[in-house]
Symmetry: D2
């Protein structure tokens, strides 16, 4: 940590900072520059409350040197592989999670599961508990939907990725799901993160649409600090001034996260764009940028989808996209 004093800070103000650092068991090194004094702190700054030093009179700013997350941090670690049955996320193979926004009926989810399986998808997605912006929108089938997902798994062998919204439902969802999904709106729902951290099922954590990389990794750290190290990060678009698309896909998140963390990184082009025709080019871009996988909303009849209809591609489009993605994966030295 580097503590920058204001120009003209008084000696007693500087001394107070130095004393505070020492009291926390770290080693302060004051540097008296031409315009101001800077105090470098040697030791594990994570033990210091950065904010407390910012609050002291005479302090201009406090700059972090170390990253505030440890378990999620890349430093000195190999890239992690998360296993879902036979499927490995974070290895050589790029994996694709396909399926509808919402589970609508047993027939619907089984039919779609069979189609995406045939097209080469590795996991099945589908929401039983739905976070909807408006209270009057369809909220999902709940446990009945989870049971339909389990039947689709039985029918196809595909592992299930499904969202959990409420800490009270984590156990229930974990009973049926192979991967627990935590959605963008809940990235800082700490009660939910902690419950997910107590499970021994992989968690697909979506980036909050407002979240910096640091905050995203701190959310992963919340889960990991509870004992569950099986976290898959998912970039799904951030909120910017451009409203033509639902969100703005931050494609650079893929290589940045690979530099900052050992966790696998997948991309959701459906929610990022919100527009069906943009899903395929953004999916291709994600693989080219080094993503470990994709999650894509697919439906046998997109226009009849009860939710997210306008960003859902048809299974025919999905089959075509899988071919394109195989070519891209090969071009970056991977397979799909």
């Amino acid at each position: 940590m580097i503590i920058v004093m204001k120009q003209g800070a008084k000696k007693e103000q500087i001394d107070l900072v130095i004393r505070g650092v020492k009291e926390a068991g770290l080693d302060p090194r004051p540097l008296h520059g031409t315009e101001r004094t800077v105090i470098a702190v040697i030791g594990d700054e994570r033990k210091l409350e950065k904010d407390k030093f910012k609050a002291l009179t005479g302090v201009e700013k406090v700059m972090e040197v170390l990253k505030p997350y440890k378990l999620a941090s890349k430093e000195g670690k190999h890239k992690s592989k998360v296993r879902v049955g036979d499927i490995v996320i974070g290895g050589e193979r790029v994996i694709v999670i396909g399926g509808p926004c919402s589970v609508e009926s047993e027939e619907q989810i089984i039919a779609i599961a069979k189609e995406v399986k045939k097209a080469g998808a590795h996991l099945l997605r589908g929401g039983a508990f739905k976070p909807r912006t408006g209270p009057y929108d369809f909220q999902g089938l709940g446990e009945a939907g989870l049971k339909m997902l389990a039947k689709a798994r039985a029918a196809t062998g595909l592992g299930i990725v499904t969202e959990v919204l409420d800490p009270r439902n984590v156990e229930l969802v974990a009973k049926y799901a192979d991967v627990l999904q935590i959605g963008t709106r809940n990235m800082q729902n700490y009660a939910l993160l902690k419950e997910a951290g107590k499970q021994r099922k992989p968690v697909l954590l979506k980036r909050g649409m407002w979240a910096t990389y640091k905050e995203f990794l701190l959310a992963a750290e919340y889960i990991m600090s509870q004992g569950n190290r099986e976290v898959i990060l998912c970039e799904r678009g951030i909120r910017t001034f451009e409203t033509h698309t639902r969100n703005t896909l931050d494609i650079t998140a893929v290589p940045v996260l690979h530099e900052l963390t050992h966790l696998p990184v997948v991309v959701d082009p459906s929610h990022a764009t919100g527009i069906r025709s943009l899903v395929a080019p953004c999916a291709r871009a994600a693989i080219a940028a080094g993503a470990d996988g994709l999650t894509i909303e697919t439906h046998t009849h997109p226009e009849k989808s009860v939710s997210d209809a306008s960003q859902t591609i048809s299974t025919e489009e999905f089959i075509q996209l899988m071919k394109e993605l195989k070519a891209i994966a090969k071009a970056v030295g991977r397979e799909l």
Copy 2:
């Protein structure tokens, strides 16, 4: 709802849209323009899934005419007053909620409560359950903290505003609190909103730092649709590209929300700015813009605060600020 067809959309595509509108029980009015066809929909468009029409081939865009929230909407309603004991929020008087970020001890919270009461504050704030970005940060005292808040109320008569993070704790928090606070990170935590909606205690709902006015009002609508109409909206800064301050206070939210909704609107200059010296000017601006109240982090010893130290003002500064705010309130025809 207005459905704009693409240039060159085929007759059968247009007919499909028209049929869809009719099936939903509304009245479609196609208008054949010089460049494209537009279909105006007469009736309550809230019954239509806008997204389904966007998903139809040949549709370029779908534009909403009506607002998707009804209970929260201003239209035809008087401004609401929310009562907390003798205190009325949304009336002539501007109200101020003062207190520390976190409850730290019985002595601390009672001492601060007495100071803010003396300075003229109307309600006491203080967190017992704390949403912290990092898992290794102080997470609050939990129920013990709630009990200390209750003692501070007994000592001063000030009603208590405190945050609830977990739907499982809503009843517990409601047992002690006079106002349930839902924080920015939980604005779209629907499980929590629904539980808060089942209580008969006022809810202070903070704007998500990524949330549009529409999404903010839809979050209020979630609470209201469960039966609890006592919602107070709180603007607390949004996330923008400017990182000098913690967030960017959207002062315009105050008059905009007064135009869109009948609910009272308060402002949190402490979290919006994150910098102690900016709290007073932003608090004054909020009252000048028409806010119904303020929530301000105050501590007898800000630099010793266990959280948010750098944005917390001292009780001396609070006393001075209250004087300034009285003058501003008077200048806009209100009192404090």
Copy 3:
């Protein structure tokens, strides 16, 4: 400047950084921490190209200690006063610049000038050269418009604030104007900033809607470095995800800029909001936050305004607003 090396950076990488700092005539102080090495640089870091050090292998990040602007910086300076005839901007008195978006005709501008003068405005605004988003929109009357502004000044005594778009027109505009306005889109138009810096007329510099405080002050520094120290900063809204309003007024910019710079700060609530009904509350907020003045679009017949009609208030509304602003100014210990 603080140079943070990567964990495990090699000795020769650290030595290369140290040598680079020495070659630039500054004093490097390496600090070997528990996890990584940090090199503090003593001396005027503005002489260093920060980017060159970031480019060196083994460097993780480079953090600035000093501000990159000097002339615009507050440090050690009193608040500046900019004089326009008898009017002082940055003193005790809050000043108001009123007038239409565009000069439309001699009659129009003189009529409006008389009205705003009567209401107590201190300067007259009006565009002769207009920056319009679309090429087919009205582009302003050019020099003819400037002449009309001069006539309005002759008729009322009000000094003229008008925009210049093109470095080739700076002298022309300066011939007629009392204050040269540089608009938001041109905040980083360096050719224009430099020409304005060669004039001896005050410059009203609007913040780029994408610009950080640092970039805003560096733009002012461009003008000042050419010899013209008479710069007035104008906050006029930044671009955020919220599109209900034209931009988001960053009210906190007012106290922040007062901390960072000695230059006067005014606010433009008309462009910030783009909505007539929001101009008055935001204008009041600006004065309450400590702004030195306001610039407000006013028209005798707003709905007939050739540009910005929806954000322009009527002269009746302007008169009412001036009364409200006087009360707010008084409440913060100033006058208007």
Copy 4:
């Protein structure tokens, strides 16, 4: 255009809108809904000042149906090809523009030109006039730099892409350059756009870091409306809340712009990311998303680059990247 009246708008307010539409020569079609009246406008709405209608009492909002740009619009047009000598931008072949941020010396630019040519680049970039955020930074060699670029062209046959900052220099730059570059800060510098529009040289127009797609295309329309139809659009990152990278690459801009306009679209991963290690993955993503080309900062000795050192890749890295890009281009059915 669709004009939505407020709930309870009076008949005379509605009539005033209808009259206004008629006076502009268009055909108003009022629709009286259950909650409010909507007036659909038949005809070329580009003739209407949308803002004037928003300004009328009783109007709630005005929604555009047609796009405000015509020349740049895709509708009914084939994709454009822009020719620079033998090089075709917008055809089957993906083109790469390589070279340093700034021209530093004759030796430097010729050496780099030879390297990028050998690696397969199609055009040479290099700045002679530099837009720098701070006035004390290196501002470029000016005409001397242009002459060095011409020598590099003579030595390699590569066409020259170089930036113009000042409308007074457009002719001068056009004398030496094959493509005029207009930078992000100048995207709404209308004086410059108009001058570039009078030339008969292709223009590489970079997206303003704050600009929506609509504003970007309106800036292109400014150039095209002056007679110059040879515009190449360049996505180079937008400003968001994420500051780890210099800007956020909006990869989705590539397929969106291909839907909205016939103009070719290239991507600048160097400025978008600002970090050397992120250039290659983002460049690959751009081609995978369908970009017609790339512009990449390359230097024989990046760490000695006088500007943008930290985002400039070495010529060795450039050679490696070109191989990867060829594979991606092939995977999407193109060549490089």
